[in-house]
Symmetry: C2
Subunit: 256 residues, 2 copies
C-alpha cells in the first residue's frame, strides 16, 4: 500500500521551518506497513493545495497532509482540498462540538475564524485534537484514505497517533536496523552492498549513509530494512543480512 505525504506551508519551502512533520509522518507510516511513496510540499495557496491533493490521490492508497488547519487566513487546507476534490463543505456537528467545548471552557466566543475549523468535507470524520483546537479530518475519496492534520507538531503527532490502529496494515511488518562500520569507504563497500541485496532476493533493502567525507576517516552507516508478514520474520531477514555485512567488512579490514 502506497502512502504520500503532502505538507502545506510557505515557511517550509522558504526553509524557515525544517520539515520535521514530514519525517515523523514518514516514520509512523513506514512502521504502519506503508511504502511511503512520494512527498510533496506546497505553498499556502488554494490552487497549490489543489495541485498537491490531486497529484497525491492519483498515486496513493493513503494521503496524509499536514499544515494549514488553524484559524488564520492562510489556514486553507480543508477548503482547498474539498474544493479540489469536488466535495461540498458543511459544518460538521462533531467538529463544532469539539471546538465549542474548547473555547467555551475558557469563556471565549466562537468567532468566524474559530467556526471555520468546523467546516469539513461532507461525510468526513472529525478526529479529536487533544492538544489544540483544530480537529483532524479523515475521509475516503474514491478508495483513497485522506487524513488532514494540523501543522503544529504536537497536535499533528497526537492526532496521527490516535489514528494508527485504524490505518495500520496488519499483514505488513517492517523492521530496520543499522550498523556503523569504520575504516571502509562507501565506494569500496558499494560492491558488497549490491551483492548482499542480490543475495537477499528483494526481501531486504540496504542503504549506506556515509557520515564523514569519503576521503578522510570513513564512517559508514549501513541500514538494512525489510518487510515480512510478521515481526519475527522481518527481524530475522534483516539481522541475517546485517551479520553477513559485518563479516564481510571484517574480512576487508583484515586484508588491508
Amino acid at each position: 500500500m502506497k502512502a504520500t505525504i503532502l505538507t502545506i506551508g510557505n515557511e517550509i519551502l522558504k526553509g524557515r521551518t525544517v520539515n520535521t512533520n514530514f519525517s515523523h509522518i514518514g516514520h509512523v507510516l513506514t512502521f504502519a506497513g506503508y511504502e511511503v511513496f512520494r512527498g510533496l510540499v506546497v505553498r499556502d495557496d488554494p490552487s497549490e493545495i489543489a495541485w498537491g491533493i490531486t497529484q497525491a490521490t492519483g498515486f496513493s492508497d493513503l494521503v496524509v497532509t499536514s499544515g494549514g488547519l488553524g484559524p488564520t487566513f492562510d489556514d486553507m487546507s480543508v477548503k482547498a482540498i474539498a474544493d479540489a476534490l469536488g466535495i461540498p463543505l458543511e459544518t460538521n456537528a462533531d467538529a463544532l462540538r469539539m471546538i465549542r467545548e474548547k473555547y467555551s471552557a475558557q469563556n471565549l466566543e466562537l468567532t468566524p475564524e474559530r467556526m471555520k475549523m468546523a467546516m469539513l468535507p461532507r461525510n468526513a470524520e472529525a478526529i479529536a485534537n487533544p492538544v489544540g483546537t483544530a480537529p483532524g479530518v479523515f475521509f475516503n475519496y474514491r478508495g483513497v484514505s485522506i487524513l488532514i492534520l494540523p501543522g503544529v507538531p504536537s497536535e499533528m503527532k497526537a492526532i496521527l497517533e490516535s489514528m494508527i490502529p485504524r490505518i495500520r496494515i496488519p499483514t505488513v511488518h517492517y523492521y530496520e536496523e543499522s550498523v556503523v562500520l569504520h575504516g571502509i569507504m562507501e565506494s569500496a563497500f558499494a560492491p558488497v552492498v549490491a551483492d548482499e541485496m542480490k543475495k537477499a532476493g528483494g526481501s531486504v533493502y540496504i542503504k549506506s549513509h556515509p557520515s564523514s567525507a569519503e576521503l578522510s576517516h570513513s564512517v559508514l552507516e549501513i541500514e538494512v530494512s525489510g518487510t515480512a508478514q510478521d515481526d519475527a520474520t522481518a527481524v530475522k531477514v534483516v539481522r541475517a543480512t546485517l551479520e553477513s555485512i559485518k563479516k564481510r567488512h571484517q574480512e576487508m579490514l583484515n586484508k588491508k
Copy 2:
C-alpha cells in the same frame, strides 16, 4: 522566478533522515531572490527520479536536486535525470579530473563505482566538490537551470554556496523579520494579520506561527517577509508592517 527543490532518497520518505537539505536549499534560494514554488521527495528509483525531474522542470526556472550522487548502486540521480530528459551521458573531462585527483592523492584506484561519478549529461558542467568526491552538476534544459547536488549535507552546502553568485537574481531582494507576541491567541490575532496584509497591498506576506497551544498561554511568532528591487526598500516595507503589528498587539492587550 520559480524554483523547485527535488530531494531524492528513501531515507527521507521513511522518516529516518530529517530533510534538513530541503530547508537549507529553500533558505538559500529564497534569499537569492527565488520563489521556492514546490518541493518533491522521491525514492531512489530511476522511474521515480524521472517523475520528479519531469514534473519539476515543467513548473520551474531553476530545479535544485539533492541526493543520490555517490558511488553506491542507489546513487542514480545523474543517470536517471539525464535519461528522463533524453540527454546522453558521457564521461565529463573536468569531473574525471576532479575525481581522479581526489583518489590519486590517497593512492586509490579509480574503480567502476568511482568512475561512475564522472559520467555527466552531455554539455553539463561539473561543479567542484570541496568536501567530498562527487562533483555537482549544472546544466540548462529548455530554459530551465538544473543543479544536481549530493545528499551529504556538508557537500551539498559547499557546492550550493559556490553557485550562489551564478544563480542569484540581482533585481529581487528578499527580507524577513519576526516578532514574538505574548498573550494573544492566533485566532484572535487573525483579523489583524489579514488587515495588515491588505494594507500592504501585496508588498509583504505575513504568517503567524503559534508556538504554544492556542488555549494555554499564547505565544505567537509573527513573521513578515517581503521582496523589493533593493535591500533597503525590502527592509523598510517589512519593518513598517512589523511596527504596525506591534502597535495593534499592544492596543489589544490594553483593552483586555
